[in-house]
C-alpha cells in the first residue's frame, strides 16, 4: 500500500488507511474546530504521520494551512501565529519547510532560473536586461523579499543612490508593511556603493536592538536578521524561526532560508535521520537549476547520488589543472575570457585571482566598467595580496550580502571565510564547496573521515578522470608526499610537501619544506603565509619553541590575522609552567595571545595573560640588566628592529607595565610610555600617526590629572590681590591715621572711654570689655593707636573671611556647592546604596536596583524592610553631608560656633600680638602683608583641623552609618549577611575612605592661585570628568567644541572651572533623565570669550523657561555680594559672583539662557560672554 512521491523514498508506510483513522482527519476534510492545535500536534508528531498527512492533503490545503503568513502591516502582526506554531526542533522545521515547499516546485524552478539570469546581467553590468528580468519575476511570480533586495541592488548599480531611493519609495508604498519597509531600508543601505560592511552591520543591530527588548518579538528579530545580515554570526537556535516564516513569497523566501540554514548546519549530521527522503526528493527536482541540496546530500553521505549538471557545459577541471600546474598566465587569459560567457561561475573568479596573485601578473578586468563582476575580482585579488587600502574584505562582505539568495553570494562568503583576515568560520568555509558550480577535488575537504575521502576519490575519478589536481589532493589527503605530481611548480610543491609531511607527523621534513617555501615565496603573500604557519606547526611539534615564537612574532608583524591559522594555544600550554629562557620574542608572543586569542579555559587554571606578558618582559629586561623598557632605547641596535618595535608597541603599554612594582604612580607610568612612543616615532615611522595620537592622549591624560590636582588644591582660596585692591581709600586713610597716632607719645594717644556694660556699644566695645563683668558704668583708658590697629585688623579679617574675595565665597562656590556632596555621595551611589530625596513624595525614592536584583528572591516583607533600611542610610548620609556643609565647613566667628574655620580673635588674647606685629612695619603694604600673613597662618591651622576632622570624625560617622545598615539588613534574613548587597556595603566602606582622603586633600594650604595656564579644552574635559564622578548614577554624554590652542590664564583656571561645573552639574541634576546629553562649547570672537553649556531637557518646557528667565534676569547682576553667595540659593547666583569678582569682569559680562522647544524633548542653553583678555593666557 505504500505510496511514493517522486520515487525517492518519501514513503508513507500506512497509506490511506492511516489517514482515514488519524486524528488529523478533520483537518483534511476542512471540518476541524481547532485547526491551530491540531497542526501544532502534527508538527511534533512522528515523521510517518507528517508524511502521511501531506500525502493526503490537497495542494490548496497545504498552501492554505502549512505556510505561515508572517508579513503584516505592523511589527506586531508578525508576532501572532496564524496557523502552525514554531517548534524547537530543527529537524521538524526542516521537514515541515520542505513539505511546504513541494507544492511550489515549479515556481521555484522558474525563479532559480530567472535569478541566475538576473545575476549574470548584474555581474556583467547589463542593467537594462537585469531590470527586465526583475519585472518578469514580479509579473510571473510575485514579490519576494529576495526580489526587494535584488531590485534595490539593480537600481543602485544602474543609477546610483537616486534610483536606489526611488525604488525604495515605490516598494514601501506598494507593500505597506512595517517589517518589510524596515528590511527594504536596510537592503537599500547595503546596496549603496560606499557604505562599509561593518558600518552596515552596526546599523542592522541598531535597527533591531529596540525590538530585542520585547520577548514576543524575538522570533521576528531572528527572521529580520536572517534577511538583513545573513552571514553575520547568529544564534543557531534562531534557525527554527528562520525556517518557520514564509516571507513575502513562500516559494522563494522560504527556500532561501532553508538553504542558508542547511549550509550552516552541514557539520551536525542531521541529514541521515528523518528528513533525508523528502530532501532527496526536492534535491532531485531542483538539481538542474540549483545543485546545492544535492551537494549537501553528497557532503553528508559520499555514496549519495551526485547531481546532474544540466545546463553547464563549462569544463572547469581542465582549467583547474592548468592552474595546479602553474600556467598562471594561460589560466588568467582563459578564465577572463570565459567569465564573459559564465559570469556567475565563481570558480572562474577564484582562478583569475589566484593566478594573478601567484604569478604576480597584472590584472585584466573581464567586464565593462561599473560591472559588479569587476568589483568582485579586483577585491578578491587585493584581498589575496593583503592590500588593505581599499578594504577589499569589507567590499566582498558587502557584495556577498547583497547577493544573498544566490549561489554566487554563498560561494563569495565561503571565499571570505577562508581568508586569514576573514571571519574564518569552519561552516562558512564549506560554503564554497556546497554552493560550487561542479564537484571538483576541493570538495574532498568537506569530509572528516579518511574512508569517506577515499570513497570520494573513487567517485570523482569515475566522473572526471584522474586529473593532476585530483592526484594532488589525493596525495595530500593520504599524506603521500611522493605522489605529488611533478608538474606542479616548485614553490607550491614545497607547500604541498610540507602539508603532507606535517599530516604524516614527519615534522623535521615538514620544517625543511616550509623553510624552502619561505625562501621561495618572494613577494607572493599567500605562499609566505603558508610557510609561516607550517614552520610554526613543525617547530612546536619538534619542541623548537624559541623558533616557533619568533615565527609568530614575524608573521604577526606582516599580517596579524595569520595567527588564526596557528595553534598558539598549544605553544602557550607547552611553555606556561616551564618558562623558556628569556628572549625578546616571548613577551610579544604573550601579548599576541592576550590580544587576539580566546583562551578561556584553554590554559588550565585561571591565567592572567597580561601578568604573564609582563613577567616575560621583566625576565627579558632583567636578563639584560635593565629595570625599565626605556633603558632599551640606548641599546636598540643590539636587537632585531622588527622585534624591538613589536615589543615597544605591543608589550610596553600602560596596561601591561602597570604590573611592575617600579612605577610610583600613573604619572610615572605614563611618562615612561611617552618616552617609548617618542622612540617609536623614529623606529616605526609607518605608524607614526598612531604613536603621535597616543602621545597626545597620554599628555592629555597627564594634563587632566594635573588640572584635577590643581583644581583640588585651589579649592581653599582667598583672592588676596582682589582683596587688597578693594580695600578702598577709607581703609588707607584709617591706616594713615593709625600711623600718625602711633608716632605720638603714649599719653597723647590715650583716650578715656565710658561704657555702659549692660548696653553693648558695638562689637569692638564688647570685645574690649569682655571679662570686665561689672554692672553700671565704667571708665577705661584706651590707647587709640592700639585700637586703630586692632580695628584695621578686624576690618581686614572680615574681608578676608567673608567679602566677595574672601574665604567663605570660595568655600561656598568650590566646596559647599555640589562638589562636596557629589564626592561623598558618589561612593554610595556607585554601589546604588542610596537614593535621592523627592520633594514630591517628601521621602527618599525606593531602591529599585537592589529590589530588582537581590531582594526579588526574598519575600515582600523582608524586601520592604531592607528598602526601609536603605532609605534610612540615604537619610543618614545626607544628614552627615548637610551637617558638614552647614556646620563644619563654615567660618567660625563666634566662640560658640561650630565651623572648623576658626577666625575668632579677641583683643584680650590676640591684641598685643597683633600690635607687636604691626609695630615692626613701616609702610602700608608691609602692614597689610603682616596682617594677611597672620590670617594665612590661621587658615593653615584651620585646614589641618578640617583635614583631621574629615579623616577621623567624618570617617567614623560614615563607618557607623554603614555598620548600622549592615546590621539592620543582616537582621532581616541570615543569608543577607553574605549577599552581594552586603559585599557592596563593605566595598562602599573602602571607597568612602578613599573619597574622604581626596576631600581631606582639598584642605591643604596653598599659596595663591594656580600659576598653570591650561588649554581650555583640557579644563572642560576635567569639568566633564568631575561631573561624571559626582553623579555616578547618571550617564553623561557631553560633547565638547573648543577652539584649538586657547589657554586660560593660571589665576583664572579654578574660576572658569567653577563656572562650567555649576552649569554642567545643574544640567545633569535638572534635565529629568539619567541619560544626560550636553554640549559645552567655547569661542573667542572680537576679544569676547563666549562659553555655552546646553543640554537636552526632558519634561515640561515651561519649567525650563522659568529657570531661563530667572537666570537671564539683569537684576541679578546688581545683587550685593552677600546675596550672591547665600547658601541654599540657586547656583546660578554664584555664576554672577564668579564672573563679577573672581574673573574680574565687573559689569562687563552677560548671562543669557533660553529654551528651544521641540516636539518631545527641548534644549536648554546658557551662554556666558566675558572679556577674553582678562581670562585667557
Amino acid at each position: 500500500m505504500a505510496r511514493m512521491l517522486g520515487g525517492d523514498g518519501f514513503v508513507a508506510p500506512q497509506g490511506r488507511r492511516f489517514a482515514k483513522r488519524t486524528k488529523y482527519q478533520p483537518l483534511l476534510k476542512g471540518t476541524a474546530r481547532d485547526s491551530t492545535r491540531l497542526i501544532k500536534t502534527l508538527k511534533v508528531d512522528d515523521t510517518h504521520a507528517i508524511d502521511a498527512f501531506f500525502m493526503q492533503a490537497s495542494t490548496s490545503l497545504r498552501k492554505e494551512l502549512l505556510s505561515e503568513p508572517c508579513v503584516g502591516r505592523t511589527y506586531e502582526t508578525l508576532v501572532v501565529p496564524q496557523v502552525a506554531l514554531v517548534t524547537r526542533s530543527l529537524s521538524s522545521e526542516v521537514r515541515w519547510t520542505i513539505l511546504s515547499l513541494l507544492p511550489y516546485l515549479s515556481q521555484l524552478v522558474l525563479h532559480i532560473d530567472l535569478n541566475a539570469q538576473w545575476l549574470r546581467c548584474v555581474l556583467l553590468g547589463d542593467h537594462d536586461q537585469a531590470h527586465e528580468i526583475l519585472e518578469r519575476i514580479e509579473r510571473d511570480l510575485g514579490v519576494s523579499v529576495w526580489m526587494i533586495n535584488a531590485r534595490l541592488l539593480e537600481a543602485q548599480r544602474r543609477d546610483e543612490l537616486t534610483a536606489n531611493r526611488q525604488v525604495l519609495g515605490e516598494i514601501c508604498e506598494k507593500l505597506k508593511s512595517a517589517s518589510i519597509t524596515m528590511l527594504a531600508e536596510l537592503a537599500s543601505q547595503r546596496a549603496e556603493s560606499r557604505i562599509a560592511y561593518s558600518t552596515y552591520l552596526d546599523d542592522v543591530e541598531r535597527t533591531l536592538r529596540p525590538f530585542g527588548e520585547y520577548r514576543n518579538l524575538a522570533s521576528s528579530v531572528s527572521w529580520w536578521r536572517h534577511w538583513a545580515a545573513p552571514f553575520a554570526p547568529r544564534r543557531t537556535d534562531s534557525d527554527c524561526e528562520i525556517l518557520w516564516r514564509n516571507g513575502l513569497l513562500p516559494a522563494i523566501d522560504r527556500y532561501v532560508g532553508l538553504v542558508r540554514v542547511l549550509h550552516s548546519r552541514v557539520d551536525e549530521r542531521l541529514f541521515p535521520t528523518d528528513f533525508l527522503p523528502v530532501m532527496k526528493h526536492m534535491a532531485r527536482e531542483l538539481q538542474c537549476v540549483d545543485p546545492q541540496l544535492a551537494h549537501l546530500l553528497v557532503a553528508q553521505d559520499v555514496n549519495a547520488e551526485w547531481p546532474m549538471y544540466c545546463s553547464n557545459h563549462l569544463n572547469l577541471s581542465d582549467l583547474i589543472d592548468l592552474y595546479t600546474e602553474g600556467a598562471y598566465s594561460d589560466v588568467m587569459t582563459t578564465a577572463t575570457r570565459q567569465l564573459l560567457q559564465y559570469p556567475e561561475v565563481f570558480e572562474l573568479y577564484e582562478l583569475v585571482a589566484a593566478s594573478v596573485t601567484n604569478g604576480q601578473l597584472s590584472i585584466q578586468l573581464a567586464f565593462p566598467d561599473r560591472a559588479l563582476g569587476n568589483d568582485v575580482i579586483s577585491a578578491m585579488i587585493a584581498c589575496m595580496r593583503r592590500e588593505e587600502g581599499t578594504r577589499p574584505l569589507e567590499v566582498l562582505q558587502r557584495i556577498a550580502t547583497q547577493l544573498h539568495g544566490t549561489r554566487f553570494g554563498a560561494q563569495l562568503w565561503g571565499f571570505i571565510a577562508g581568508q586569514p583576515q576573514g571571519p574564518n568560520g569552519r561552516n562558512d568555509s564549506a560554503l564554497k564547496g556546497l554552493a560550487c558550480t561542479q564537484i571538483t577535488p576541493r570538495f574532498s575537504l568537506l569530509y572528516n573521515q579518511p574512508e569517506d575521502v577515499q570513497r570520494f576519490w573513487v567517485h570523482l575519478e569515475q566522473a572526471a578522470g584522474a586529473t593532476t589536481t585530483a592526484r594532488l589532493y589525493r596525495a595530500i589527503s593520504t599524506c603521500d608526499v611522493s605522489a605529488i605530481p611533478r608538474a606542479i611548480p616548485a614553490s607550491r610543491r614545497y607547500k604541498y610537501a610540507g602539508q603532507g609531511f606535517l599530516a604524516a607527523g614527519r615534522y623535521t621534513e615538514a620544517l625543511q619544506e616550509y623553510s624552502q617555501l619561505s625562501n621561495a615565496a618572494g613577494t607572493v603573500v599567500p605562499l609566505f603565509e603558508t610557510a609561516a604557519v607550517g614552520i610554526f606547526s613543525a617547530t612546536v611539534e619538534l619542541g623548537l619553541y624559541q623558533l616557533a615564537s619568533e615565527t609568530v612574532v614575524d608573521a604577526y608583524r606582516r599580517n596579524p590575522t595569520l595567527i588564526k591559522a596557528m595553534n598558539l594555544i598549544l605553544l602557550a600550554q607547552r611553555i606556561l609552567d616551564d618558562a623558556p629562557p628569556p628572549s625578546i620574542s616571548w613577551p610579544i608572543f604573550w601579548a599576541i595571545v592576550d590580544r587576539d586569542l580566546e583562551t578561556s579555559g584553554k590554559l588550565g587554571a585561571e591565567r592572567d595573560l597580561k601578568q604573564i606578558t609582563y613577567d616575560a618582559l621583566e625576565d627579558f629586561l632583567g636578563h639584560h640588566g635593565m629595570q625599565f623598557p626605556s633603558e632599551l632605547l640606548s641599546k636598540s641596535a643590539e636587537f632585531d628592529q622588527g622585534h624591538l618595535v613589536s615589543l615597544l608597541s605591543m608589550v610596553c603599554t600602560t596596561d601591561i607595565l602597570d604590573y611592575s612594582p617600579d612605577y610610583n604612580g600613573a604619572d610615572h607610568l605614563e611618562q615612561e610610555r611617552i618616552k617609548l612612543c617618542e622612540a617609536l616615532l623614529a623606529l616605526d615611522p609607518s605608524n607614526a600617526s598612531s604613536y603621535k595620537a597616543e602621545i597626545a592622549d597620554l599628555l592629555r591624560s597627564t594634563a587632566l590629572r594635573r588640572t584635577m590636582k590643581e583644581i583640588d588644591s585651589t579649592k581653599i582660596h582667598v583672592d588676596l590681590q582682589g582683596l587688597v585692591d578693594n580695600l578702598g581709600q577709607s581703609y588707607r586713610e584709617r591706616y594713615d591715621r593709625y600711623r600718625e597716632y602711633s608716632a605720638l607719645s603714649e599719653i597723647l594717644r590715650t583716650s578715656k572711654l565710658v561704657f555702659e556694660i549692660d548696653k553693648p556699644f558695638g562689637n569692638v566695645a564688647n570685645a574690649i570689655l569682655r571679662g570686665l563683668k561689672k554692672s553700671g558704668s565704667t571708665t577705661q583708658y584706651e590707647d587709640i593707636a592700639y585700637r586703630q590697629a586692632w580695628d584695621l585688623f578686624q576690618d581686614l579679617l572680615l574681608r578676608f573671611i567673608s567679602s566677595e574675595f574672601g574665604l567663605d565665597s570660595y568655600l561656598s562656590a568650590r566646596i559647599r556647592h555640589g562638589v562636596l556632596a557629589g564626592q561623598l555621595r558618589s561612593a554610595f551611589e556607585q554601589h546604588r546604596l542610596i537614593t535621592q530625596w523627592s520633594s514630591h513624595t517628601t521621602d527618599y525614592g525606593p531602591n529599585v536596583y537592589w529590589s530588582d536584583w537581590v531582594m526579588s528572591s526574598y519575600d515582600d516583607v523582608v524586601a520592604s524592610k531592607v528598602d526601609k533600611h536603605l532609605k534610612q542610610l540615604s537619610k543618614t548620609v545626607d544628614a552627615i553631608i548637610e551637617h558638614l556643609k552647614r556646620g563644619k565647613i563654615q567660618i567660625k566667628s563666634k566662640v560658640d560656633g561650630e565651623g572648623l574655620f576658626d577666625f575668632v580673635y579677641s583683643i584680650e588674647r590676640d591684641g598685643n600680638r597683633i600690635w607687636n606685629m604691626v609695630q615692626t612695619t613701616t609702610t602700608y603694604y608691609e602692614f597689610i602683608d603682616v596682617l594677611i600673613a597672620e590670617l594665612i597662618a590661621r587658615i593653615g591651622i584651620n585646614l589641618n583641623s578640617v583635614a583631621q576632622y574629615v579623616r577621623t570624625d567624618l570617617a567614623a560617622e560614615f563607618r557607623q552609618a554603614l555598620d548600622a545598615v549592615s546590621r539592620s539588613i543582616a537582621s532581616e534574613h541570615p543569608s543577607l549577611t553574605h549577599s552581594v548587597l552586603a559585599n557592596s556595603i563593605r566595598q562602599c566602606g573602602t571607597i568612602i575612605h578613599n573619597n574622604l582622603e581626596i576631600v581631606a586633600g582639598w584642605f591643604v594650604p596653598k599659596g595663591g592661585a594656580s600659576a598653570l595656564s591650561i588649554d581650555i579644552d583640557v579644563l572642560c574635559e576635567t569639568v566633564v570628568e568631575t561631573v561624571k564622578r559626582m553623579n555616578p548614577t547618571y550617564t553623561v554624554d557631553a560633547t565638547r567644541s573648543m577652539p584649538v590652542g586657547v589657554a586660560l590664564a593660571g589665576g583664572m583656571l579654578s574660576s572658569v572651572f567653577d563656572l562650567l561645573l555649576i552649569l554642567l552639574d545643574n544640567a545633569v541634576k535638572h534635565c529629568n533623565s539619567t541619560q544626560v546629553e550636553a554640549t559645552v562649547s567655547a569661542v573667542v570672537v572680537g576679544g569676547i570669550l563666549r562659553l555655552v553649556v546646553s543640554n537636552i531637557f526632558h519634561g515640561d518646557p515651561a519649567f525650563a523657561e522659568e529657570a531661563a528667565q530667572k537666570l537671564s534676569n539683569p537684576a541679578i547682576r546688581w545683587l550685593d555680594p552677600d546675596a550672591l553667595r547665600q547658601e541654599g540659593k540657586s547656583g546660578f547666583y554664584k555664576l554672577h559672583k564668579i564672573l563679577r569678582y573672581d574673573l574680574r569682569q565687573g559689569s562687563s559680562y552677560s548671562v543669557a539662557a533660553h529654551v528651544e522647544r521641540h516636539s518631545e524633548v527641548h534644549r536648554f542653553s546658557v551662554a556666558l560672554e566675558m572679556n577674553a583678555l582678562a581670562v585667557l593666557a
Binding site: D615, D655, D658, Y659, G665, G989, H993, E997, I998, G1001
Partner: protein, 152 residues
Amino acid sequence: MKILIIEDDHNKLDRLRGLVSQELTHAEVKEARAYQKGLRLLRDWRPDLLLLDMSMPTYEVGTGEQGGRPRSFGGRQILHEMRRRKIGARVIIVTQFDVFGDGPEQKTLSQLKLELATEFRGLYVGAVYYDPAASDWGDDLRRMLNKAKVSR
C-alpha cells in the same frame, strides 16, 4: 618577625595593625595600600608574613592619584608574583568579601580558598573572612597567625 599588611581599606588596616601589634609584640610591621607598593615592599623588604587583601587599586589613592586600574584579584596576582620571584613569606588572606569579580569570572570565597590552597601551596596559610561588625574574624586571624608562626 617582619610583617607586611597589604590593605586598601583604612579602617580594616587600622584594626589589622592593632591586632597584629597586640599578638606579635616584637614584630616589625609595614603597610601598603595598593598592589604596586605591596609588591615592591615584598620584593625589597622580604617580610616573613603577609596579611593580604584580595581586591585593591594599582597605586595608592591620594590627592592627584586616582589609584590606577582596580584589581578584583590583586591579592591573587601578588601571590603569583611571590611564587615567580621566589618570595617565601607565609600569606594569610584577610578579606571582607565572600564573592569576587564580576560575570563569568565571579567566584565565592570558598572556591577561592580551595584554589589558593592548591595553587599556592607553601605560601598560602589560610583565609580569614573579615566582618567589621563581628569579632569572629579576630579569633580566626589569631589562629592563622599561630599557624603561620608554627609553620615558619
